[in-house]
Symmetry: C2
């Protein structure tokens, strides 16, 4: 029998915010970044790219965390579903459609006009999922900046992580200030209005993930938020939608060790049940893992949640590292 208890749901989308210089490492350059979520969805589904032109790497060559999540999936065998959270490029991965459109630059006045509709369609989808448990993950370049935008609009503490070793947090703050001004919002003005916060200051992936989470919670499906500070923003959206129960957040040691992310503080403030997984990539001399140990990427594609599932299944991190190396080598050979 397959494991029909847990489903891993990856929401993949885009925001034009990612094209702001220096804001994201989720792709070699802005042109390549547009393809990153579609490629991540393919790697999760097939273990390789199918339609996407290349395997996502950071400007310094750090391999996408989709490889880590896929490695765990190979070992654990969990079911995975991709939801279209505003993809620009077609993906060869099968996707569920909830009406999300690519997000515009958060410095515009109404960057995510599809957010309220996508949120409600995602909520119905989350409500209907038959599994006992879902892990919710994201892939969207530029997503920590829009996460910061949402946190600020809601009046929550504005601390987010980065896919870059040096978090360009000042740039992100400037972008968010400009976005708040364009939307005629002061920090906290969207408190208690999650759909308004995500439409004006967020991205379509945040709208979809929070919708799925809310629907799943309403139908008593256990929800784990698999990710870093973008999932903190999802948790904040859920709190402002009136969700009061404990919310598990499963992230990586790379996010937990990032002081700019302040994920433990956020977990305290939002009553999140924090799980931190350390894949021990520093013990590998494989280049695909060495870059993580040096502080790149840190999270994404639910890597922290996938590692938590590996731990739950009793799979040693050495086996995960071995499988990551094998996939990375296969992808390098393509």
């Amino acid at each position: 029998m397959t494991n029909d208890r847990t489903r891993f749901v990856l929401t993949a989308g885009t925001t034009r915010t990612a094209a702001i210089e220096g804001i994201s490492a989720a792709g070699a350059d802005p042109d390549a970044m547009v393809h990153t979520p579609a490629a991540d969805a393919e790697i999760l589904t097939y273990g390789t790219t199918v339609r996407a032109p290349e395997v996502p790497r950071s400007p310094t060559g750090c391999l996408t965390p989709a490889v880590v999540t896929r490695a765990v999936r190979d070992l654990v065998g969990f079911e995975a579903t991709v939801v279209d959270g505003g993809l620009v490029e077609p993906t060869g991965a099968p996707t569920v459609t909830v009406g999300a459109r690519p997000g515009d630059d958060v410095r515009e006045q109404d960057p995510v006009s599809s957010a309220p509709g996508a949120f409600e369609a995602a909520r119905q989808f989350g409500h209907a999922l038959p599994e006992e448990e879902v892990f919710l993950a994201e892939t969207i370049p530029g997503g920590t900046t829009t996460a910061l935008g949402v946190l600020r609009a809601l009046g929550e503490r504005g601390a987010v992580s980065s896919s870059l070793p040096e978090n360009p947090i000042e740039t992100k703050r400037d972008v968010v200030e400009e976005g708040l001004a364009a939307s005629s919002l002061a920090p906290g003005d969207a408190s208690g209005e999650p759909k308004r916060a995500v439409r004006r200051m967020g991205d379509p992936v945040l709208a979809v993930v929070s919708g799925i989470a809310l629907g799943a919670i309403e139908s008593e499906t256990a929800v784990t938020l698999a990710g870093g500070t973008q999932m903190v923003a999802v948790a904040a959206l859920l709190r402002h939608a009136g969700v009061e129960q404990s919310l598990p957040l499963a992230t990586t040691s790379y996010v937990a060790e990032d002081e700019t992310a302040a994920v433990e503080t956020a977990a305290d403030e939002l009553a999140l049940d924090l799980t931190v997984a350390d894949p021990g990539f520093g013990r590998s001399d494989h280049p695909a893992m060495a870059t993580y140990a040096a502080g790149e990427a840190k999270e994404g594609v639910g890597m922290g949640g996938a590692l938590a599932l590996a731990t739950r299944a009793g799979i040693p991190m050495a086996d995960v590292r071995e499988r990551v190396a094998a996939i990375a080598d296969e992808l390098a050979g393509d």
Copy 2:
């Protein structure tokens, strides 16, 4: 490790041909039939419906073969992907997009104008699939009539099965004659022109499945056609596209025993390597299986191929029947 050798690819779509009275049992009535492929895709993916309004049943209550394929999937654990072959209704199942649009009534002059483009996109998708082996399946109400149309346009023997216990073959022949006239085609006029045959006399699912098959074959992926006479039409399209290698066709005993389908004759003429699986539903007193034993449904959603995968995995048909009963009971309780 999950089984990453074999992927089951279900193409789900529609043709307005299904609305012709008395032509299909793939839904309680024409209004319900529009939802059947979307619901089948959800049952394969989740084991239950998610967005579709109801579980597909024939007018007499026979449950969709999607339940059988899902039952085997629960037991064997194969990977499954759904491709949008022209769905009208949104599905909660994730789907790959290849540009297929819902098919019009085959009695019109150009019922599947999206066929050539969808065929080529599907071919690229099939080429890129990384697995060693794919099983290709279909769900499209009215599909045996359009299969007959394609076979006649290609100049092949026109024999097809039916989801009804009494095959309305005369109605189908009349419809196809009308379609040939509307398309200004004599039988055999599209010989050697598979894209023309499927565009003028077929449906979008036939275009997509034959495209995936051709692409997979070109990249040396083993292809099994999982189904009945609709997959015979796919095989004919592949022969007319120049494919010469042996083509496995995995179907059910219900199709093999249907004299109007003449599947063994077709297998001889098209050089198909025929596998027939008998799930022994006559040995069950469960209503979900008794209707199959009485000649309803017969095939669909790759049921014959799924049963072949169960046999290959050493799973007794008694276990498959037990799992079918369990899913049917769960669905009845929904």
